[in-house]
Each structure stands twice: as structure tokens, then as C-alpha cells.
């Protein structure tokens, strides 16, 4: 369970261009559910998602992961939690160009320094599971949008995280690929994972596997 207590986030605080992206959000996000944060551009959904995923800290309020308060942790511990608990799928996939599909998928495990043979085996097995077995040695810039996203999913799953976070995952996909993506998301939920997505794409929010849709506007929860 992730619990958000009165969370606010300001950018450029104390300066003339101060901007509050998220204001007084209180939410509980249940385990093994698919939760979608919906809202127009600038509604604060990505900022909220990055705080949930330990990529940034709230300006005020508390985030609890289970019983653990994440808000006051130093960066090193946040990185450790991020690595062990969360997997990220970014809007533009954020794969590292010039490297192969396999190298990209293995990257999150490098700081943990596992046995190389075992790591290659784990990454290859994941890629095969998502139909990318033939692309293992391909450079990521040669991939189609759907293939790049499946590579990003494999990378997010490499460290076997409990929670998957996806920011606008279908923004660069056509309807067919978006539906395919939601099928994968449904399967991951069935495998026991918690998924938190941001999107303003109806293919995502209307998908049958989605348990909860939270609507944000101007940094606040409008509907739940």
C-alpha cells in the first residue's frame, strides 16, 4: 500500500516564478491493482507519479510505502528503494541509443553487480517472454515504437520490482499497440504486481483491467 498524506510539490520555491504543480493530495494506492492518474497537460499527474516513484521529494506532506516514510529519506536510500521496489516505463521509452536491446535491459542491474551469466540469462528470458527474442542484439534505434516499448517494459521488470510505474505509456503508440500494451499490463497485474499509470488516453483509462481512475486538475484530485 502506498499512502500519500497531504502532498504538495512546488518548483522554484521562493522565486518570482514559483509554481505549485501538486497541492494537498491525499490518496491511498492499493497493492495488486491498476491505478490510472488521468488529467490534462499540467494537471500534475507526472509530478505526482515521480514523487510516488522516489524520483523526487514532495515539498510538504508524507509518502508512506507500507509503514516506511519515504519523504525524509536521503538520496542514497531513495535510490535503493527505487531500484528494488519500482520499475519505470517512460513516455519516450528513454532507451539509451547506441546500445543493444540486451544491454539496455540489463542496465538497472549493473550497480548490483550480479553474476554476468545469470544476468544475461534473466534479461534474455524476459525479452523472449515479450516476443523480443530475435532482437536481443539489435541496436535500440532500429526498433519500432512497439518494440521499443516492450524493451522498456523488460528493463522495468529486470530487478523484479513489486510496483510498475508508467508515464503516458501509450502517447507514442497507435491504437492497436496501445491495446496490446494494456493486455500486457493486465497480465502483469495477474502476476501480482501493482501498476500506476498516468494517461489521458481513453484506451488506457477505459481498459477493463484498470481498477481505479483518479482525475487530477490543477494539481488537485478532482474525481476518484
Amino acid at each position: 500500500m502506498i499512502r500519500l498524506n497531504d502532498i504538495s510539490k512546488a518548483f522554484n520555491q521562493g522565486q518570482p516564478n514559483e509554481f505549485w504543480a501538486v497541492r494537498d493530495v491525499t490518496l491511498d494506492i492499493e497493492d495488486n491493482r491498476i491505478t490510472v492518474l488521468r488529467g490534462p497537460s499540467g494537471s500534475g499527474k507526472t509530478t505526482l507519479l515521480s514523487m510516488i516513484g522516489c524520483l523526487s521529494r514532495p515539498t510538504s506532506g508524507r509518502i508512506l510505502l507500507g509503514e516506511r516514510n519515504l519523504s525524509g529519506l536521503p538520496e542514497r536510500f531513495l535510490t535503493q528503494i527505487r531500484r528494488e521496489t519500482f520499475g519505470f516505463i517512460f513516455q519516450r521509452f528513454n532507451l539509451i541509443a547506441g546500445l543493444t536491446v540486451l544491454d539496455n535491459v540489463m542496465l538497472p542491474a549493473y550497480p548490483l553487480a550480479p553474476d554476468h551469466g545469470a544476468l544475461v540469462q534473466r534479461a534474455t528470458a524476459l525479452l523472449e517472454q515479450f516476443g523480443m527474442g530475435s532482437k536481443v542484439a539489435s541496436k535500440v534505434e532500429w526498433l519500432s515504437g512497439g518494440e521499443a516499448q516492450r524493451t522498456a517494459i523488460c528493463r522495468a521488470l529486470l530487478n523484479d520490482p513489486q510496483i510498475l510505474i508508467a508515464d503516458e505509456p501509450t502517447a507514442n503508440l497507435d491504437t492497436r499497440l496501445s491495446q496490446e500494451f494494456m493486455t500486457i499490463i493486465g497480465e502483469l497485474k495477474a502476476a501480482g504486481r501493482t501498476l500506476i499509470l498516468t494517461s489521458h488516453d481513453p484506451v488506457v483509462s477505459d481498459a477493463p483491467c484498470v481498477d481505479r481512475v483518479i482525475t487530477l486538475r490543477d494539481g488537485q484530485v478532482q474525481a476518484d
Binding site: S50, E75, R83, F88, P108, Y110, P111
Partner: protein, 377 residues
């Protein structure tokens, strides 16, 4: 393999893959970097080798040389001075030497004429240095004719050519016997160019020189250690001249390398954000960048130093020999003996590898400490 080493291996793997992505640019940098190390190391190795060679050659020279001075100029010294020196404690042997210079207009070169102590040379014959033999195309049995101070022609038969292992100082040498030398230069019996004193105990050399200054006020004693110091200063000065000439290209490289190493492109910043977002710690990113700097600079250092070693010790430092060796006309053909000075390697390593590695790490530290949520925006 320990966890620490495996982690470094992963970071190095990633760094190499990263460098491979901008192959042309990085190979260009490595090439220029290697060239700079090669030039600096070549000059250092060769100068060091010259100084060492000069030291080895002077090992057999007399510890003290006494020259007579007239009005501040070096003049011939009478043999009677040997008796005036008499018995000085610590002096094992003393003798007069005959040597001088001769300008050969045919090849516009200066030769050094010398009467050897330990070698019998027949009248009308001479032994020539390898440099002269090469320049004048001489071999044993050939004749060489010079015009003496009195305007007479002297024809010498070349009896032998000196071995080339000491060519650095013998390239321009002509050995003749005493009678021929005196006749050629018109030097009277009982006069020498200078006197040589052999002193076995190095502690006593300075004391002997002091006594000579008192005993023979119109002479100056020259110590072997002073000559060695002069050689040292000379070769260091020449090394300095080459370094000054290289300074321009060195500076250009420093600017280029600093710009390359310290400037982070938008793409690199984005990649750092991705790595942090997927679980890399700030320290991992800095370590990765450290390896990038270290691999490039260490690679360039090793390649450059190796190339310089081959250049100096296998190809006789063909690029720098004329500047560093001297000898305006009769270039000695001299093969330096392989010798590497640890302190010199450490100095070069410090001034080439260290600054580049620091230049790569400092800007990354600033980029790596920013929040990773930039990739979400």
C-alpha cells in the same frame, strides 16, 4: 570475483560501449592524446638516455684537468708545471695532454685532434672518428690531406676508423701521434694543451683542486663532476627548447581535451537522468565517468609511451636527434641504450593521465547530483 570488482567491470563494460557509440570522435581524441604523450615521452627518454650515455663515457676521463690561463683565455701549459705540482696527496697519476680543433673547409666542419696516451700510432697515420669517415667517405688505407698552421700540406693515411659505440663524443675525433701533432700545429716540445690528474678518492678531488689553485695561480682546475653537470645542464636545456616548441601544440590539445572532457552534451545529461531513474546511484554515475576519463588517458599514455620507447630505442629517435644531440655538421650515429627512469614515467603519467581524468569527473558530479525526475518532464 568479488562484488566490488564485478561492479567495476560492469561500469567499464558500459563505459566502453558508450565510447564505442561515438567511435570517430573518441578515436580522434585518443589519437591526438597518444601523439602528445609520444612526443613528450620521446624527448624525455632520449634526453635521459643522452645524459646517461655522457656520464658513462666520462667515467674513464681524468678527475681533474688543469688548464693554463693567459688574460682569461686558455693557453698552452709548460711540462714544467707537472714538476711544480710535485707530489700532491691523493693524486695517483699526472700527465700532459695534447688536443685541439681543426676546421676543415672541405666539409665546413670542426674536427678534434687528439694524441692518445694508450695507443701507438705510426708517423703519418691517423685514426678517424666514424662521423668524419662517413662525411668524407673514408676507410682504412685512404689518405686525408690538411693544410697546417704554417701553410704546409700534411697527408695522413687512415689506419683505422673508431668503433661507433662511443660515437656521441668521438664522431669528430682524429687521433694522431705526438710528433705529428706538434709538427702540424707548430707546438714546441715541452708544451701541452692541458694537464690531467687522476684522483682515486672522490672525497679528495675538491681538496686537490684547491691546492692546485694556490700552487699554480695562472691555471684553472676543471673537475669531471663539473663537466658532467655541464652536460646535464646542456641536455636539459635542449630538452627545454623542444618542450617550448611543443608547448603550442600541447596547449591546443589541453583546450581541446578540456572542452571534450568537461562539456556535457544534452544527450549525455539525459542519459545520466535515465541511469539515475532506473536505479544507478550518483556514485555509480561518477565512477562510470571516471572510468571513461581513465581508460582514454591511460590508453593514450600506454600507447604513446610504448611508441616513444620504440621510436627512441629502436629508431634512434629519428624525429628529435638533430636538435637534442647537437653537432652541427657531423651528426653522430648513436644508438641509445634502453633505459627507463621511474620518476620520469611517474611525472609524465601525473601530468597526462591525472588532469584529463579530473576534467571528466568534475562536471559529471554536478550533473549527477541533480534530481532524476528530469527524465519524466
Amino acid at each position: 570475483m568479488s562484488h566490488f570488482l564485478r561492479r567495476q567491470r560492469y561500469l567499464i563494460d558500459f563505459t566502453l560501449a558508450s565510447l564505442g557509440r561515438r567511435k570517430g570522435k573518441n578515436l580522434g581524441l585518443l589519437g591526438v592524446y597518444t601523439l602528445i604523450v609520444f612526443l613528450l615521452a620521446s624527448v624525455m627518454l632520449f634526453s635521459q638516455s643522452l645524459r646517461r650515455e655522457a656520464g658513462l663515457l666520462l667515467e674513464n676521463a681524468p678527475e681533474v684537468v688543469v688548464q693554463r690561463m693567459v688574460a682569461g683565455r686558455h693557453d698552452l701549459i709548460p711540462a714544467a708545471y707537472l714538476e711544480r705540482i710535485g707530489k700532491v696527496r691523493g693524486v695517483a697519476a699526472k700527465y700532459g695532454r695534447l688536443w685541439g680543433y681543426f676546421y676543415d673547409p672541405a666539409v665546413q666542419a670542426n674536427y678534434t685532434l687528439l694524441v692518445p696516451r694508450d695507443q701507438e700510432i705510426k708517423s703519418g697515420e691517423m685514426i678517424v672518428g666514424a662521423g668524419i669517415a662517413r662525411t668524407r667517405g673514408l676507410g682504412a688505407g685512404d689518405y686525408l690531406t690538411f693544410r697546417s698552421a704554417q701553410g704546409q700540406s700534411f697527408a695522413f693515411r687512415v689506419a683505422d676508423v673508431l668503433a661507433s659505440d662511443a660515437e656521441l663524443v668521438s664522431a669528430d675525433l682524429l687521433l694522431v701521434n705526438e710528433a705529428d701533432y706538434r709538427a702540424f700545429f707548430g707546438i714546441a716540445e715541452g708544451m701541452y694543451t692541458d694537464l690531467a690528474l687522476e684522483v682515486r678518492n672522490p672525497q679528495e678531488v675538491r681538496k686537490v683542486a684547491e691546492k692546485l689553485s694556490v700552487m699554480l695561480p695562472d691555471t684553472r682546475p676543471i673537475l669531471r663532476e663539473e663537466i658532467l653537470r655541464t652536460y646535464d645542464a646542456l641536455f636539459q636545456w635542449r630538452q627545454g627548447i623542444v618542450f617550448v616548441l611543443l608547448a603550442g601544440s600541447l596547449l591546443a590539445f589541453v583546450i581541446f581535451a578540456w572542452d571534450k572532457a568537461s562539456g556535457l552534451s544534452a544527450e549525455e545529461k539525459r542519459e545520466i537522468g535515465i541511469l539515475k531513474a532506473i536505479g544507478w546511484e550518483t556514485a555509480d554515475v561518477i565512477r562510470m565517468k571516471f572510468w571513461e576519463g581513465a581508460l582514454v588517458s591511460l590508453g593514450a599514455f600506454l600507447l604513446g609511451y610504448l611508441a616513444a620507447y620504440v621510436h627512441v630505442f629502436f629508431f634512434d629517435a629519428a624525429l628529435f636527434a638533430p636538435v637534442l644531440k647537437g653537432w652541427a655538421v657531423l651528426y653522430p650515429q648513436f644508438r641509445p641504450q634502453p633505459f627507463v627512469d621511474g620518476l620520469q614515467v611517474a611525472t609524465l603519467f601525473f601530468f597526462t593521465v591525472f588532469p584529463y581524468t579530473v576534467a571528466t569527473v568534475v562536471p559529471i558530479w554536478r550533473a549527477a547530483t541533480t534530481d532524476p525526475d528530469a527524465v519524466m518532464r
